[in-house]
Homo-oligomer: 158 residues x 2
Amino acid sequence: MEIPSSLVDRLLDTWPVARLATSGTRGYPGALPIVFALVRGYLWTPVDGKPKRAGELARVRRVSENPHVELLLDEYHDDWSDLWWLRIEGEARVVEPPQPERDPDVAPVLAALRKKYPQYATVPVLRDPPTLLAIRPTRIRSWAASETALAALESRSR
Amino acid sequence: MEIPSSLVDRLLDTWPVARLATSGTRGYPGALPIVFALVRGYLWTPVDGKPKRAGELARVRRVSENPHVELLLDEYHDDWSDLWWLRIEGEARVVEPPQPERDPDVAPVLAALRKKYPQYATVPVLRDPPTLLAIRPTRIRSWAASETALAALESRSR
């Protein structure tokens, strides 16, 4: 069954992690866990100050080469009747604001990220050079294994 | 830092879920949670009897069109010093055994899946027509945010 759209909206606002699938020009897909915030209809993910493996910024290169992405929100449960997922196809764009805190598009994004993730009190929300991906959703699909899965998700995302 | 190879091996044996990134011919990536078992160097994932959204078998079509995939194993934590991931690039192949329980390659895979997932006592491990993906790993990359992350993972995957 599908996830009701009110719950989809709440998940997009509150769910802490997504897996971002990208595909470069050569057709080699990549997947990476990301944090994100929904601001004015776009899903934004920053290149933040969390520790990172060198070279992980391949995601920026990949998106420059091919803007098509898919975001996956889901959660594994040993009880398979509790499974669900939300998949967002979108077009990603690399945003490199020279003055992010003064940028009228980016400043509200930084505020939303800091509100959603208290971790940004100590971790820089952007690194140098400031870089974010802005993803415009083009198609949303959802699935839940059962009514129980929906009820559990509903009560947790309040 | 990287995850030590002994722990990588243990994660591939025991971690219950991966996110599979695929890319069709048109360069639109897709991501999906999957269960899997490592058998004789291949990562196998069945099209099983878990409830599914109609059309979810796009993964089979995508892999037929483009065998390059990436598997992501990771876990989100609010404490970002506990984050880690394991990414396996590979080549996937669609396997459609007419008699899976008698197939010398597939029968051990079904046994491994049933051992890893007790859920298969009640959920069919294959649907009709029997279909699995066999993924040959070509590159493994790993990352952990801290020694604490590694120690926690180490103690949980025993």
